[in-house]
Symmetry: C2
Subunit: 204 residues, 2 copies
DNA sequence: TAACAGAACTTTTGATTAAATTGTTCAAAA
DNA sequence: TTTTGAACAATTTAATCAAAAGTTCTGTTA
């Protein structure tokens, strides 16, 4: 079966690409439909032929990014150790966030009520992470390296929350802001340490 | 030396008490200086004789609460185990927050730029916690229960951040809000688990 | 002079409006 | 079916203003 190249898909792709670049560069609210239309040399109205509205365009871009990252998450399997598994996932996620840092600007602003579709994507990623890592735990338990746990997923969940809580102690620790780009590396290092201690705490 | 009872102090206390109750019940922004003045049967202007302004009145109340809690923090010493030490501190803090939950309403609203004085108090509490717990670690290291660590304070700091990150996975995990009152118990249980794993991860 | 109160003053808040920008739809053309 | 220009609707921004609340002033009392 040959793959028919749908010209609609090509246009959609063009739009998605422009949107991604704009969102990445200027953030959601500073990107206008006019500008995207200009990028791809289409009328603004045509954007609405391909995408229902601006927020769903953003979601579509997000989904694309997420799909790429999902592949990365799911590709990693049978690690030499649980620690390796956690560290790899952690590092992958860190790179994912670094790479698209400004794109997630949307999250920081709309922090409160993100569209359901966004939460679904976040849920997908989260679910995949949990699935992958809890499997690792189960395997290690079978090997006898890790002591048996009731609910591997709950353990992974707990660690992910804990990792999420790690931040830099800024001078006098003011504000609880999202981590700034230049703090990410320090945070990443701290997280690696946390993972090591945590994993050791699970061992027999 | 006999303690002279300063009538000014008595009035200050009255004001602080009324303010505390008001802040606790209605929060900072829904409490007016008029109401406090009414409570203590003084003129509103008199409040400004005793306290520079509203925010510093709040800070004074906060400092009082903090002092009480500081005593609790510092009282706990020589625990049977490191785990006991962490769990005790964690439980104390949990009770402290539960008891004054609505008082901290101020934090949730002004989340961004709290007055410096507030951050100082938070710093005091944090410092005391770190001090206490890192001492426990140092002791346990000497006993050989825990394996040597470079920087005990950094370890405690990391754990505190991690604990701070623990939250409930609400249905579809929407929002990153401050934990609601009715979620506190679930969070506390998760934190206890995290402490156990973490401490075990530090052991020899 | 320290402790106080009434009234005046200043700042903040909330509601309202108007203007401008931007997102969205639609009728019609290619 | 795909595309557009133009109309339309929604959102944002700024400006305004009155009420409420915070703060200060002036002077009185003890």
């Amino acid at each position: 079966m040959s793959i028919a190249i749908d010209p609609q898909d090509i246009k959609k792709e063009k739009i998605l690409e422009s949107a991604y670049n704009r969102f990445l560069h200027y953030g959601y609210s500073k990107t206008t439909m006019n500008e995207i239309a200009g990028d791809v040399s289409m009328s603004k109205a045509l954007l609405y032929y391909y995408f229902p509205d601006k927020s769903q365009l953003y979601v579509a871009v997000m989904q694309k990014l997420a799909n790429d990252h999902l592949k990365v998450i799911k590709s990693g399997t049978d690690f030499p150790s649980l620690e390796e598994a956690f560290i790899t996932q952690l590092t992958n996620k860190n790179e994912f966030i670094l790479k698209n840092y400004n794109f997630f600007d949307f999250f920081r602003l709309n922090e409160q009520n993100l569209p359901d579709a966004i939460w679904e994507i976040i849920g997908q990623l989260h679910e995949a992470e949990i699935e992958q890592l809890s499997n690792c735990i189960t395997n290690e338990v079978k090997k006898g390296v890790i002591k048996p746990v009731d609910d591997p997923k709950a353990i992974v969940d707990l660690l992910l929350d804990a990792l999420h809580g790690v931040r830099v102690r800024s001078f006098s620790q003011k504000k609880i802001h999202f981590p700034k780009l230049d703090q990410m590396e320090e945070i990443h290092q701290k997280r690696l340490l946390l993972v090591k201690i945590f994993v050791k705490g699970l061992m027999n």
